[in-house]
Symmetry: C2
Subunit: 223 residues, 2 copies
DNA sequence: AAGTGTGAACAAGTTCACAGCC
DNA sequence: GGCTGTGAACTTGTTCACACTT
């Protein structure tokens, strides 16, 4: 387990894990890096190199045990533990997040929702009560939480994140369309669809046939 | 305008653009790469190099005209045009997307929503009617659309994307938690919070103090 | 004096290619 | 024979450092 594992490698592991889980579910016993690579559109060498940071999980001449590799990845990523999550900001987006069933299934327990709107406080989303944002800091001290999901307006995002960190949260997923600055060592990811759209329009501007036409010209599938 | 501009550069431009827009709004006339870098947590050299792919927008000894650079980026990214968008899948997430006011303000016009649930078809979200998914392909031929946002269950995602591409859509933002394969030349981005959470738990597993504690140890701010 | 634009140096990340094992 | 694991070669991306401009 070498000194420094590149962050890009870590970011790929969940993708491998998702595919492996599916293969396990489908009952596949063994799979080669070749096949994983084809399925994922990356080179087999990359998959082997990535996995080799963590151990030697394959068997020469055979490939990887799907079962075994799935479990290894689960351990590496910490998905054999359950993680507690709070969602702050229960507008339409926050509500969509809070009611997304995918979190529970992957080990993320949404333990509380917070909003500062008195009309929302006291209601619930899929059985999870919405609590008063002003009590967040206090309640984090009572019951430590691992991860915060932030879905508040831009202006409020930095303050909310500060409060979460103050309360011991060490990973934040920020849906607010603004950059937030946090202390070293707190994990932070941003989700902002506008930025994605804007980089896609760059390419649209430059691709052939500016104005989208029925286009029966279906080209070659990529790897 | 050299031969090949790295994709990572393109992906950073919207971030620069967002900051520049704010500075312009605040009435700033001039800004240096130094200051932009500090605000964004990247090196000034990177900003200068990135911009230099597209032209020479700065003035030595002064910096960049905020006004000018904002306009240049708007042109480069194609944000001086309006782009038409359809959202497919009007569950809770799709509804949150459809009602997000940020799109209109950035030049993205949501022109139609689609769902296959007969109970939803005929209703509307913020004044935009929900149409029958079965008519999508036909209606794309009548009225070409630039961008598709997909918020359907995993099983349906590939089919929906194929239909969009068939109908001439050349950029897709996929919220379904599954990989989708498209013809060369169609822009595709995935948004999947689970993958982000899973790479964050990797780091949480390894950071000091596993169990989140009040943590008054606020460390140094990063760049 | 200050700050850009950019080749050159450097760092990071990816792919190759093959020895070694099943 | 087939496929992993991995140094070495290569490619891509970042930062340095300075000539040049205002």
């Amino acid at each position: 387990m070498p000194l420094e594992i590149p962050d890009v490698v870590i970011d790929r592991l969940p993708v491998y894990y998702r595919l492996l889980s599916r293969l396990a579910y489908e009952g596949r016993a063994v799979v080669s890096s070749q096949e994983l690579g084809e399925e994922l559109g990356v080179t087999p060498a990359q998959i082997r190199k990535d996995l080799s940071y963590f151990g030697r999980f394959g068997k020469q001449g055979r490939g990887y045990s799907v079962q075994r590799l799935t479990e290894e990845l689960r351990t590496i990523l910490g998905l054999d533990t359950r993680w507690s999550v709070v969602v702050v900001g229960i507008g339409r987006l926050g509500r969509a997040i809070a009611s997304y069933p995918g979190f529970e299934g992957q080990g993320f327990d949404i333990v509380a929702l917070y909003d500062s709107d008195p009309n929302l406080v006291g209601t619930d989303v899929e059985g999870i009560p919405v609590r008063d944002y002003r009590t967040l800091e206090h309640e984090l001290r009572q019951r430590p939480v691992d991860i915060g999901i932030v879905a508040v307006p831009s202006e409020a995002a930095q303050g909310v994140c500060d409060t979460l960190v103050q309360g011991g949260v060490r990973a934040i997923l920020n849906y607010a369309p603004t950059r937030v600055v946090l202390p070293q060592g707190v994990e932070l990811k941003h989700i902002n669809p506008i930025l994605f759209l804007q980089s896609m329009t760059y390419h649209l501007m430059r691709s052939p046939d500016r104005a989208g036409r029925p286009a029966d010209a279906r080209r070659e599938m990529p790897a």
